[in-house]
């Protein structure tokens, strides 16, 4: 087999790999991945965006399979193959997305309509194509330059790191669809660079060719538009005559669409009491990613138009006392700020995450909203809610957490699905610690039937109070509900009888039901919005009583409070309940299904099945060719590369979540951690070259695994106290600290892959593309599996699992 081993060293291969092209391509591929998540979160729903993108990444795995089968043919033609794949990546990045968004996928009928799964499959295939080409190019480079894999892989990782940083910067200055064109251009640029680096063809000629392609791509993206699913609330609202989009801006936090209605007024007042007599004032709507409507109220309407603010369930605190300092978390269009103003609150702190939203309100609708955020006494803070509270020195009479739609935290959409740090036990404890004596925390949620959110929130509040040393949490809680919304009040002190009378009055005047206050009687509950049983009251009593654990166990939805280690408040699914729901599917049972979780499981199953095919397929071909390879070798390759593929992302994802608790802003956290991981891992890979040159592969792998284990275990214990210590530091200092903390860990994590691949290159080069494919498939499975493990066991377990996997990999590393 000597002759074949020498195939890659023919005259057509230049002495050094096209590093810059690899880096650019890698940057483009990662940027494309992040952008796709953004685009699909806009045109579809976030969960399905996650599923589609995750499965499209199997394009990496498929590339490994393809290269295994076709390597004989491609390697002698490396230059052409490399450049062709680069060009195809650039072109398909745009065209495949534009085609995929035309597919009329409707997730809600996926269980009824056989066409929907088919449409999903078409989307996966279309979107996998660009990843396939990108992975082909990079894989080819690895195989052809076996002598310098470490540096090639370093270029790959460094490029990816820069790409993740750049895409976030790009999304801040560009609308999503044009950003796609820019990324495709980046891909084509890498083609140009490759042509120069490989000294292929005539430079001027190829420059012209690439330029033509770039122009083509630019033209296509100029004329393209986002095709948002017809069932999202933005397109639905636009169907009303006279309603149109006035303005759109975009950032990594979301696409904001400002909608005005000239003919028929928008009247958005969810949770409005049935006894309300007046409709809300004129409103302007702002949608985020085609859904999640928030409204800006006209600040100059007659007084009666603002009555509606007092007819919402979260107006309750204003009837219990006269708060002087109010904090509104998640201010949005400012309804709660207006509400506070209407009730005569002199000092209001409003916190909003999205600066573009505030910009729209201040610049465009400043006059319309009567300078809502610039009035005397109103202090606006652009910050993430929990981070603001944690770092605040102030204490408040009232902290309002209004209805916040459960659209996903925007960690650029990447790897984030259901996590929310707003409603964990630790979060509630933090909020409560910022209340003045006898102050209130008011949290409002939508009411889903059978009750879920509200009950889980209640359980979380009880737990938070108990952890703070309160013996009788029930003395500090008030729960009321309308037919749409519920409001839970947690007091920093015991609820007085005066306040209870005020609650009774407030509720009955508005046809709201009381579900809990100290001393409540069952006859008082379930009177206006009748349920078959006083479910909320019964649950509150159970959760406050000695049989809490039993109640939670027996409830058919998951009511276990979320914690920072398992930040999945919106995770209500219990496997046990599934058979019953499926049986009822035609008889109204479908809305009982928890889509978030089921989509995750479906993604995992599909990824595993597809990976099995992709990994096993080349084996049969390879077997017939290379009899001298033992099954032992193939098995150890499989085990090693899948283990490190899984473990790398487990650790990355778990630490992204950890650092979100430190940096708070989901975007900073993801950008910094992701970039940090990739760049330092890249540096680690570059270092690996020294080890490969001195033939210390095995030692290098063991060193890496031990370093990773020790650092991770240390961080498991040390990070939380460290974060607490440094909580008050400014953002830039925290970012630098984060990078310092990531550096040793990521550096070590960059070693295992290139070390083993280099070894493989010497011993069994024909297995290299297969190993590349195994790694690709493992990455896809890893992301989904990490989330599922975190949902059930928490992120600490995810990290421990990763360490076991690394250990396992080191043990299965064998040299032939």
């Amino acid at each position: 087999m000597r002759g074949e081993a020498g195939l890659s060293q023919t005259a057509t291969t230049p002495p050094r790999p096209p590093f810059i092209a690899i880096a650019l391509l890698s940057a483009g591929a990662l940027a494309y991945e992040v952008l796709l998540m953004r685009l699909f979160a806009i045109v579809q729903w976030h969960h399905f965006a996650y599923m589609v993108i995750s499965l499209a990444l199997l394009g990496y795995g498929a590339s490994g399979t393809f290269l295994s089968l076709a390597q004989k043919w491609l390697l002698p033609r490396f230059k052409i193959a490399f450049c062709t794949n680069l060009g195809l990546f650039g072109i398909s990045a745009v065209s495949c997305y534009l085609l995929a968004q035309q597919v009329p996928f409707n997730p809600e009928t996926v269980l009824w309509d056989w066409r929907e799964p088919l449409r999903l499959a078409v989307m996966y295939l279309l979107l996998a194509i660009p990843f396939f080409f990108a992975a082909n190019a990079i894989g080819l480079a690895f195989i052809s330059f076996r002598s310098d894999i470490a540096h090639a892989y370093a270029a790959d990782l460094l490029g990816a790191g820069l790409g993740s940083l750049c895409v976030i910067g790009l999304l801040m200055i560009s609308m999503p669809l044009p950003a796609l064109g820019i990324i495709a251009t980046l891909g084509l640029l890498s083609l140009l660079v490759a042509v120069f680096e490989l000294r292929l063809l005539h430079p001027a000629l190829s420059s012209v060719a690439v330029l033509c392609m770039v122009v083509g791509v630019a033209l296509i993206t100029q004329r393209a538009e986002l095709e948002i699913s017809a069932y999202k609330s933005l397109p639905q609202t636009l169907r009303i005559a006279g309603t149109e989009i006035i303005d759109e801006t975009s950032s990594p936090l979301g696409l904001l669409s400002v909608v005005e209605s000239k003919q028929l007024p928008l009247r958005h007042a969810p949770g409005l009491s049935l006894m309300a007599r007046h409709e809300p004032p004129e409103q302007v709507a702002i949608f985020t990613d085609g859904a999640g409507m928030t409204v800006i109220n006209n600040g100059h309407a007659p007084e009666s138009a603002y009555n509606y603010l007092d007819q919402l369930s979260w107006a309750l605190p204003y009837h219990l006392f006269k708060p002087q300092q109010v904090l509104v978390l998640g201010a949005g269009g400012g309804t709660e700020v207006l509400q506070a103003r209407q009730h005569g609150v002199p000092e209001i702190d409003a916190v909003e995450l999205n600066p573009q939203l505030i910009e729209i309100i201040r610049k465009r609708y400043g006059e319309f909203s009567n300078q809502l955020y610039d009035q005397a006494g109103v202090q606006l803070h652009i910050a993430e809610a929990r981070g603001f509270v944690a770092g605040s020195k102030n204490k408040y009479d009232l902290i309002q957490l209004p209805l916040l739609d459960s659209f996903a935290t925007s960690s650029a959409g990447l790897y984030a699905l259901n996590e929310s740090y707003l409603y964990t036990i630790e979060a509630l404890s933090t909020y409560l610690s910022k209340l003045k004596a006898n102050g209130y925390l008011a949290i409002s949620r939508w009411i889903n039937l059978p009750p879920r959110d509200t009950l889980k929130l209640f359980a979380t509040a009880v737990t938070a109070l108990e952890q703070a040393g309160i013996d009788e949490p029930g003395q500090r809680l008030i729960l009321i509900r309308g037919w749409q919304t519920s409001t839970l009040l947690i007091k920093n002190g015991e609820v007085t009888s005066t306040e209870i009378d005020a609650v009774r009055q407030f509720a009955s005047a508005r046809a709201f039901d009381v579900a809990w206050f100290p001393g409540i009687k069952v006859e008082e509950t379930n009177r206006y919005n009748l349920l078959d049983q006083p479910q909320f009251y019964n649950a509150a009593r159970a959760l406050l009583g000695p049989k809490r654990a039993e109640f939670i166990e027996q409830y058919k939805f998951n009511l276990t409070p979320a914690s920072d280690d398992k930040p999945y408040f919106f995770q209500f699914f219990k496997w046990r309940t599934l058979p019953e729901i499926l049986e009822l599917s035609s008889r109204g049972g479908m809305p009982l299904l928890e889509w978030g979780y089921l989509v995750l499981v479906a993604t995992l199953v599909q990824a595993m099945l597809a990976s099995a095919v992709l990994i096993l397929l080349p084996l049969s071909v390879l077997k017939s060719q290379h009899k001298k390879q033992s099954g032992f070798q193939k098995r150890s390759v499989l085990l090693y590369f899948s283990a490190i593929g899984l473990a790398f992302l487990f650790i990355e994802i778990a630490f992204i979540q950890r650092f979100i608790l430190f940096l708070h802003h989901p975007l900073y956290a993801t950008a910094v951690v992701l970039t940090g991981f990739l760049i330092f891992a890249g540096l680690g890979s570059a270092f690996a070259r020294r080890l490969t040159q001195s033939n210390q592969h095995r030692r290098g792998v063991w060193f890496a695994v031990l370093a990773i284990s020790n650092i991770s275990v240390f961080y498991l214990y040390a990070l939380t106290p460290l974060f607490e210590l440094l909580m008050a530091w400014p953002v830039w200092a925290k970012i630098i600290t984060t990078l310092f903390l990531i550096m040793p860990l990521a550096f070590s994590m960059g070693l295992p892959f290139p070390l083993a691949l280099d070894r493989l290159g010497r011993d069994a080069p024909e297995l290299m593309p297969w190993a590349w494919g195994v790694n690709g498939c493992a990455s896809v499975i890893s992301a989904v599996l990490a989330t599922l493990l975190a949902i059930h066991f928490g992120f600490q377990i995810v990290i421990l699992a990763a360490l076991m996997l690394y250990l396992f990999a080191a043990l299965s590393y064998s040299e032939n």
Partner: protein, 259 residues
């Protein structure tokens, strides 16, 4: 070289399988779309009604009814649902599921329509308001049971098509109009029952005013395709309101509890 031959054979077989598969799918589709006729529809309708009857009977106790009004199911058996859906979906018009009708709207699941219609206690002398005509299916079902139906639709093309359809099918006790349903239909108020299928963030106060004492308003809550709960608002004789929140599914959230 054996490797190439192997791959070639694989490719060839694969192509054949793909081609046959595509032909099969094409044939099935043609069959589905073109093969149904009037008698088939009647049969399908009857089968649907039977399915719903059983399902609804099981849920009736959960909805707090002694039993379900048979006239409602008769009405559903009369209305030709296939004439309210796009022609390409006719083959599945009698499945117990909602269907898209264009403009981002849907025609409701027959099972839900049955429950909703029953909950408002329709009777022959009633005057009913519907906000959100959609395809006109719910209006047609109501028309079979009550004296007069007034239906408003905010999306013009949808409203016009539904109006024409209802006329063509002979439902002359239905009056449709294009407009904003928030303010109801003041000229024809008060109403014995109001059905609100148009999505709104809250219950419009004008609609509550236009409800007669003793009358019922029914609002399905959830997404276009999945109804999570039914809100039944009853106006008492003295003008006060009573609201019931009903799960249209036989489901108890606690294990170990008996009906």
């Amino acid at each position: 070289m054996s490797h190439n031959h192997y791959v070639d054979t694989l490719n060839f077989k694969l192509l054949r399988v793909l081609r046959n598969g595509l032909l099969l799918i094409l044939m099935c589709l043609c069959n589905l779309v073109f093969a149904t006729d009037v008698d088939d529809y009647a049969e399908q309708r009857a089968a649907l009604i039977e399915e719903i009857t059983d399902d609804v009977r099981a849920t009736a106790r959960y909805l707090g009814r002694r039993e379900l009004n048979p006239s409602v199911l008769t009405a559903l058996g009369q209305v030709e649902r296939h004439k309210f859906v796009p022609w390409i979906d006719r083959y599945r018009a009698y499945r117990n599921q909602p269907l898209p009708i264009g403009h981002g709207q849907t025609i409701s699941q027959p099972y839900i329509v049955a429950i909703m219609t029953d909950l408002i206690n329709p009777s022959a002398e009633h005057r009913v308001l519907e906000v959100g005509t959609g395809s006109g299916y719910q209006a047609a079902v109501l028309a079979e049971l009550v004296g007069q139906v007034y239906s408003i639709e905010i999306i013009e093309p949808l409203g016009r098509a539904a109006g024409k359809r209802l006329q063509a099918l002979g439902y002359d006790n239905v009056t449709t109009r294009i407009g904003d349903g928030y303010y109801g239909w003041p000229e024809q108020a008060p109403f014995d029952a109001i059905v609100v299928t148009a999505a709104a963030s809250h219950v419009p106060p004008p609609l509550i005013e236009q409800l007669k004492p003793g009358g019922h308003m029914i609002i399905p809550v959830g997404s276009r395709f999945l109804t999570q709960q039914l809100v039944l608002i009853t106006k008492n004789e003295d003008g006060t309101l009573q609201t019931r929140q009903l799960l249209p599914v036989r489901f108890v959230p606690l294990t170990g509890k008996h009906d």
